[in-house]
């Protein structure tokens, strides 16, 4: 009898598993209302499920801890794992930029402010991810738009100057045989890219 009772699943258990699943894939904390909408269940049942999860996912018992924050609920790492987590996210100093990043940075440094479509024409490939990466690293930043309603243009930042050991942008190395005015250089690069076909 007692055995049978244990086998009958508590209906909130299944809801708790679904809430658990939602919390592990969410990119932001989830409110009770959001969880109720996704599970198509009642908010008070969702709260019961959260209570169940809260007793399972707590400090000392689990490495995953359910936390209540301003926007709702989210999983975080247990405090006892803080050092390991710090070692995981702390990235070693990166020695070199990828070829895509270096090329994009060179175009922005010498021809900037320049828009993503212009960078794409010169490199012969879409520039979105390369530019986004440089913006995230703080080496490149938005510098207004190309006319009203035009494409956003980008230029290098003071951090770029520090990383490359330049007192200011005028200190960029000479381009020698490529020198001339920026318009000529841009036209030449676009011409070569068009003939390269990629």
């Amino acid at each position: 009898m007692e055995r049978n009772l244990r086998l009958v699943e508590n209906p909130v258990d299944r809801l708790a598993r679904t809430v658990e699943a939602l919390l592990v894939i969410a990119a932001k904390p989830l409110s009770v209302d959001e969880l109720a909408a996704a599970t198509q269940d009642e908010p008070d049942r969702v709260e019961t499920a959260i209570g169940l999860l809260g007793s399972r996912y707590r400090e000392g018992r689990s490495g995953i801890v359910l936390e209540r924050v301003a926007g709702g609920y989210a999983f975080r790492a247990a405090r006892e794992a803080a050092d390991a987590c710090a070692r995981l996210v702390e990235r070693p100093v990166q020695r070199n930029l990828s070829q895509a990043a270096l090329e994009t940075l060179a175009v922005v440094a010498y021809l900037g402010p320049v828009s993503r479509p212009e960078i794409a024409r010169i490199r012969g490939v879409a520039a979105d991810s390369a530019v986004a990466g440089l913006v995230e690293r703080g080496l490149v930043a938005e510098a207004g738009r190309d006319g009203e309603g035009g494409a956003v243009r980008y230029e290098t930042t003071p951090l770029f100057e520090r990383v490359f050991g330049l007192a200011d942008r005028a200190e960029l190395p000479e381009l020698e045989e490529l020198a001339g005015d920026a318009g000529d250089l841009r036209a030449r690069l676009e011409d070569v890219a068009a003939r390269r076909g990629a």
């Binding site: 699943a21 592990v24 894939i25 969410a26 990119a27 932001k28 904390p29 936390e67 924050v69 989210a74 999983f75 975080r76 790492a77 987590c85 710090a86 996210v89 702390e90 990235r91 100093v93 990166q94 020695r95 070199n96 930029l97 070829q99 270096l102 090329e103 940075l105 060179a106 175009v107 440094a109 010498y110 010169i122 490199r123 995230e136 690293r137 080496l139 990383v163 490359f164 050991g165 330049l166 200190e171 960029l172 190395p173 000479e174 381009l175 490529l178 250089l185 030449r188 690069l189 070569v192 890219a193 003939r195 390269r196 076909g197």
Partner: protein, 243 residues
Amino acid sequence: MAVAVRELPLDLDAFEGPFDLLLTLVLREELELADVDVAEIILAFLERLEERGALDLEGCGEFLVLVAALLELKARGLFPGEELDFEDLDSEEAASELAERLAAYRRFRAAAGWLEERLESESERFFRTGPAPLAPAPARALAPQDPQALVVALRALAAEPPEPSLGHLVLSYPPVSRFLERFRALLRTRGGFSFDREVDRLTRPEQIVAFLALLELRKRGELALGQAGPLEPITVWSAISAS
């Protein structure tokens, strides 16, 4: 009874309907030629031919011309941006290279099918792709960089692109018109000729094009053909002298 080539019903992966509708859709670029399996079309035609029992030269000629056109379009697609050189004759290696390429494409199309099925079977797997909401924020540091690397990168972007070396892959064959003119001249001066002797010294791609020209002239009623039996030499007469 003639096999109505243009009405030939097709049931392919990418298309279902008569042959001439398929050609129309391909020419209007409403159907991706890469998705059309030409071998299936040929099989459909051969099976139809088999049902009819009798050999229909007119139908076969028309079919060969249409399929050749389809294959040429497909072959052009395999060499995007490259002009097929119709004047410069090539060896059989080109044809086998093309066959190899078609086989490779077939394999990748099968791989794409596998990926599609996999995507479907894995559609219930949900996971987070970004950082967790309460994860500690990473700090990214970059070692000092040499500004000269920027010049090198820019110079590489300005460098002349290397010449593509695809010469050995270019499929080339003469235009049908060359043989049309040559055969018309032979018919005018000699009234007839042996096809086998005329094409004896040509490469296989040239022989195929020559044969297409022969069928084309037969279709236009400019010549008559004679053959003692299968695989026997083909004799050609001017239609005027034959009548």
